[in-house]
Symmetry: C2
């Protein structure tokens, strides 16, 4: 079985996006809060079948860990109530996708984060998604300000109430910022990668995993700049008098394979152990289109991994077993189906 | 000849740092602006001879393109007058190092940037350093706010007066942020790398080099996350309907080799052409100490390059010729000495 740990619903029905537009207009005071539109199963089915599901099958994967569009979370838009209404609507929609295609998708939730609002207020939606909707994890935004980084590092105790809930529910978080409203940062070309690097360095600087030894994070996009600068980070750990990264961080942090060329994937596997790598493609995500150098889609990351000289067990770890270990509720759901 | 394009004066005499502390205190209103202390040549000589010069020789390089400590620029501290006094003092000190060790160091200047102040106001100090002190380039801070990114992208016309001066003087800029005052960003473990990635993506998004075909930037730290995600950036250029990166950006942008492990250097040379790579070590910089895996200093980047299978001419490009091409005033200075 092949599990893609990183998929977003980037082909949402137009009505869902229209709801968000109306919600933003309402937040700006030009209208009242909209009500969520009636969506037929067929609209949802069509948006998936011709897109993610088609490519999932074509590229030879089985199941995608699926969450709302990351750039669309927009935690910086409006206030906490706006974020909550939008998170609920987006998560409910993911639940409908999963209900329609239970063999191919499993849910991960968006949180109702809002700048300056305690992350404790996101615990309720996490619980609802995990306990009522059967989701297996969440996307945690380390910068709900949308590119100004006005909050606190992930190692600050302000985040602890949420981490306590993650540990209790036994779900991991993918560290994922949303759209950038800072003109300096292109969303997918700068803000995403910067956030990945930033989060890793926060973990390196802090001692979060002493307090939460079972807390687990996936840092997407191949870990941002981290594997490329692995020597720098090993050296910084030493300078900051921290234990080696293998001990200090790598029992709790995993990287996906959303790196869109062979040389990058080769580097990732050269420096990061296979126990810390989860197959992911982010399809349909930041980069769509065919790489003229390879003749294949940039984000068909399975192709790059297929070329690697891995043992069969190592390959299974990356393609399936690590995801089942990092997302125990996914593993339980699969086992319940005899998989 | 081997030219290290990236060295900072991180072993400054204590009196120089004390001046800065007094200046910060003055900016906070607790004292009047300090006057610069008398520094003996011997103090400066000692701070270099036992440090950068010793390692330069030990590691087999000849000349370092040398600038004030990057984390010390602190453009976010105080106002424009504070930044100007500090930049002048720091640049004058670099000029003294160069005067004492003309065979081994050549100057690059710090700019008197200040958040919200026009970059046009930095042209005067650039001119002074290039025309009076014999400097060959500058360090340009894309985020003088110190980690909040409250300014405009480098492609905005607000930066043009400075780029016009760079073109007129025929000097390049290294894109280099300073210390982070944002608790989310560790200075050398996140902010530096993020800024490198951010600047590259700004160039990709914009069309700056259509307006300034001879403008040249060095993006340090091996280009941040860029080479590791080269497929992502090639794909983004395609999605944004820009020409291929080789045409659109790579006539004007260069990466240094400040990547502190063999796997990272191997990747850099695999994806970036040798015409766009300049040898650099950032010694003494972000990471000091011995890598237990290699038994050598993390930042002894020449060792990693020495292992590469490069032709003799390609090796000379990376170690010397590209630097002479990107910094024409360096080339002229060397030629004047028959080098």
């Amino acid at each position: 079985m092949i599990i893609d740990c990183h998929g977003h619903y980037t082909t949402e029905p137009a009505k869902h996006l229209a709801f968000r537009q109306a919600q933003i207009a309402a937040a700006q005071g030009s209208a009242g809060p909209p009500s969520y539109p009636a969506l037929q199963d067929d609209e949802i089915r069509a948006s998936i079948a011709e897109n993610q599901l088609r490519l999932l099958r074509q590229r030879g994967a089985d199941l995608t860990i699926f969450s709302p569009r990351a750039a669309g979370m927009g935690h910086h838009v409006g206030d906490e109530a706006v974020s909550l209404a939008w998170a609920r609507a987006s998560n409910d929609l993911i639940a409908r996708v999963v209900a329609l295609f239970p063999d191919n998708f499993i849910g991960v939730c968006q949180l109702p984060q809002s700048p300056g609002v305690s992350i404790a207020n996101s615990v309720g939606e996490l619980r609802r998604c995990v306990q009522e909707l059967g989701f297996v994890g969440c996307n945690l935004n380390p910068d709900p300000s949308g590119g100004f980084w006005t909050g606190l590092p992930l190692t600050d105790r302000a985040w602890y109430p949420f981490f306590e809930a993650m540990v209790e529910l036994d779900v991991p978080a993918m560290i994922h910022v949303s759209g950038s409203c800072n003109a300096c940062f292109h969303t997918t070309g700068a803000h995403y990668l910067n956030a990945d690097t930033t989060a890793f360095m926060q973990f390196l600087q802090g001692d979060l995993f002493k307090d939460f030894p079972t807390l687990r994070f996936i840092i997407p996009h191949g870990g941002g700049a981290v594997p490329y600068h692995w020597g720098r980070f090993r050296g910084l750990a030493d300078m900051l008098k921290k234990p080696p990264l293998a001990e200090h961080v790598m029992h709790n942090v995993y990287f996906d394979t959303c790196v869109y060329h062979q040389a990058g994937i080769d580097l990732l596997f050269r420096v990061i152990g296979v126990d810390n790598i989860l197959f992911g493609s982010e399809m349909f995500g930041a980069v769509r289109g065919i790489d003229p150098e390879s003749g294949h889609a940039f984000d068909d990351t399975k192709r790059y991994i297929d070329t690697l000289d891995l043992t069969e067990i190592d390959r299974r770890k990356v393609m399936e077993l690590n995801a089942r270990r990092v997302y125990p509720r996914l593993d339980a759901a699969l086992r319940a189906r005899g998989l």
